[in-house]
């Protein structure tokens, strides 16, 4: 019995690690609030007048409905069949409902309506969550409209400002999203990218994070459009008739995860320069890349191949040199690959380089969190783990990993015997996450009468 409990505990912690890597909960949440709740609300409203009736009246209603259904069935089966393909295609009962979306979050969450104008406040971001899990995050003062919604996607019109777009690619059906900004159109299937539109200069910047998109418009990008892949950045201005495509390394560290605020680049933040008298640059001459092809290959492998293969490619290229060449998110990806391959020393190395190279960025903070996990789960170095988690908390006190970091910091300090520190962290945890997963432990530690479980 005792040994089975030991086995169960090991199994449970290994599952916990695998589970923590996924993002299932946020996708399910998005579907629930944006799709299921409106559906259920409609059902409840429909049900309400019936439930309010007297039981006898309810019985009469049920009897009447049953009779009506029986008549309808009789007519249906008795009537000669008529094959009308168009009518069948237009039958709404079998059609999938269009996506729905929610604007804002927490107490300010509201159901979105297609066509209405949405503006982020000048001091904060504004998230829009779709029922398929896709999200748009407006930077402060950005404005857009969700022009249309369909079962397979939506059409979004960016009026001005910066928007982070994350489209979930559906595996069971076609995914079709379009983001339009002035004369430009970005066609999306499943990807993450930032789009910045400045109407005054008719300037567009697309900064790719994952996947690929096609951008067209303004006569500069060809009839088919220009394909952009992960890591690329397109800057195009209709007014200047200019376009550049480059690797996004230079600013990737500042915009490397979903919590990073999409910011307009300096070129668009400033007033548009006057058209140059010199001949306009042609698209083919403007493309540049600052990343070595070897580093790009490593990333390609990390995204598509097995972790061991990605790591092998990095080592063949020179592990340190690869780490020095990669952008922030890519370096974290390489560290992940090393972890999945069980090469924790390489993972630690990559994360340490990420902390040094991208100090102060989200990448560095995430690297601290990952170092904490390795120290705690693999090396069992609880003091070091506590230090790393607290580093994350110092650098990103309200970051997306803050709750987990605070909880793990409590656990690490408590298990390392640093009761005073664990207690301070526990009080902080309860103030911010009274129902969080570590709340029980935090309550035990913050209560003066109870001794925490070792």
């Amino acid at each position: 019995m005792r040994r089975l409990a030991e086995l169960g505990k090991e199994v449970s912690s290994s599952l916990e690690e695998a589970r923590a890597k996924g993002d299932a909960a946020s996708r399910v949440r998005a579907k629930l609030v944006a799709r299921e709740v409106p559906r259920l609300r409609t059902e409840w409203q429909r049900r309400d007048p019936v439930s309010a009736l007297h039981p006898n009246a309810r019985f009469a209603l049920v009897a009447a409905l049953t009779l009506a259904a029986a008549i309808a069935l009789t007519v249906f089966f008795a009537w000669p069949p008529k094959h009308d393909v168009h009518a069948a295609a237009a039958t709404p009962a079998t059609a999938e409902p269009p996506l729905s979306f929610v604007v804002g979050e927490g107490q300010r969450e509201e159901h979105g309506t297609a066509g209405l104008f949405i503006a982020a406040p000048s001091t904060g971001q504004m998230p829009i969550t779709f029922s398929d899990g896709s999200t748009l995050r407006l930077a402060p003062a950005a404005r857009l409209r969700v022009a249309e919604v369909a079962p397979e996607g939506a059409r979004v019109l960016v009026e001005s400002g910066a928007v982070h777009v994350s489209v979930i690619h559906a595996t069971t059906r076609e995914t079709r999203w379009a983001v339009e900004a002035g004369p430009f159109e970005i066609r999306v299937t499943g990807t993450k990218f930032d789009v910045v539109y400045e109407p005054a200069s008719t300037g567009l910047v697309v900064r790719m994070e994952e996947g690929s998109v096609f951008v067209r418009g303004c006569g500069l990008l060809g009839d088919e459009g220009r394909r952009l892949v992960a890591g690329e950045r397109l800057e195009v201005s209709c007014t200047d008739r200019a376009m550049t495509v480059s690797a996004a390394d230079a600013d990737a560290d500042a915009n490397d995860n979903e919590n990073a605020e999409p910011t307009p680049p300096a070129a668009l933040a400033a007033p548009a320069p006057a058209p140059s008298p010199s001949p306009p640059p042609t698209p083919s001459t403007a493309a540049t890349s600052t990343r070595s092809p070897d580093a790009a290959r490593v990333i390609g492998r990390a995204l598509k191949a097995t972790p061991s293969e990605a790591l092998a490619a990095a080592e063949a290229n020179g592990f340190d040199a690869t780490c020095e060449a990669l952008a922030g998110p890519e370096l974290l990806l390489l560290a992940d690959a090393a972890r999945y391959a069980g090469r924790f020393e390489r993972a630690t190395e990559a994360l340490a380089i990420a902390r040094r190279r991208f100090a102060g960025s989200d990448t560095a903070a995430t690297a601290a969190f990952e170092l904490g996990r390795i120290a705690m789960d693999i090396r069992r170095d609880l003091t070091a783990a506590g230090d790393h988690f607290e580093t994350y908390l110092r650098e990103r006190p309200t970051g997306s990993l803050a709750r987990e970091a605070l909880g793990r910091a409590i656990e690490a300090r408590s298990r390392a015997g640093d009761k005073a520190r664990a207690e301070r962290l526990a009080v902080r945890y309860l103030a911010a996450y009274p129902d969080g997963p570590h709340a029980k432990l935090a309550r035990k530690l913050s209560s003066p009468d109870t001794e925490p479980r070792p």
Binding site: M1, L4, A5, G8, A18, R19, E36, G342, R380, D435
Partner: protein, 238 residues
């Protein structure tokens, strides 16, 4: 004359709200209020309900089903069922237990469906499960554990997983499975016996079934969930 302006002392809630609006909502909304708001069709309340219990439910799903790629669909199904059935909550203070019951019921149904699907694998290829990222030895033990569990009946599997993997107390297992404590104890004993009989065929599980478990090099003093129950439960040990 100087006007004395009374300032309202800043409460903990307002600080929390500034830091994290969802956390603030969690802090102020009781389960009873949450249930009432969901019944009124509040999207925000449904979101808070999810935020409050998703981790618990997700953890439970993983314990019951193992590393399954369909865990996300099961999580979704459970919350849809919960929202659909929110009218039936009689005692909102027991919302978590109620949701745990739905989770166990849904997971049991999934296990049965999965067992049926396994027979039809030639027409319905099962997706690859996600791999846990612990040490190779623990990964192998996890894989073997769920291999053994998948050969057991849905009921045996649920009782075993709740008790040994999720670490629930016997009374909690009984509540989650909607049976009496004595029934839970009996079922658990059967499940344990069935598990041990099958587990012996897996070399990776032997260190956990035989004396000398520490030979595999772990040094953590893993706590035994509900050791009080362990004392009651002496028949099934290897």
């Amino acid at each position: 004359m100087t006007a004395v302006q009374k300032t309202k002392p800043e409460t903990r809630t307002s600080i929390v709200r500034e830091l994290h609006p969802r956390a603030a909502r969690n802090a102020v909304v009781t389960d009873a209020l949450l249930v009432a708001e969901i019944r009124n069709g509040s999207t925000a309340a449904a979101g808070t309900f999810f935020d409050r219990y998703a981790r618990h439910v997700e953890r439970l799903i993983w314990s019951l089903l193992g590393p399954e790629p369909e865990a996300e669909d099961v999580l979704h199904e459970i919350f849809v069922r919960a929202l659909e059935g929110i009218e039936s909550v009689e005692d909102p203070s027991r919302l978590k237990s109620w949701l745990t019951g739905i989770t166990v019921h849904t997971a049991r149904e999934w296990i049965r469906r999965r067992t049926r699907r396994r027979w039809l694998r030639f027409v319905d290829e099962l997706p690859e499960p996600p791999t846990p990222s612990a040490s190779e030895e623990v990964n192998e033990a996890t894989r073997c554990t769920y291999d053994v569990l998948s050969s057991m009946s849905a009921d045996d599997r649920v009782f075993f997983s709740l008790r040994f993997i999720e670490g629930m107390e016997l009374s909690e297992v009984a509540l989650a499975c909607d049976v009496s404590v004595s029934t839970a104890k009996r079922r658990l004993k059967d499940a344990e016996k069935h598990f041990l009989a099958r587990a012996r065929r897996h070399g990776a599980l032997l260190p956990w079934l035989e004396e000398g478990r520490w030979a595999i090099g772990r040094t953590s003093k893993a706590a035994v969930p509900g050791s009080d129950v362990a004392a009651d439960h002496d028949g099934g040990e290897a």
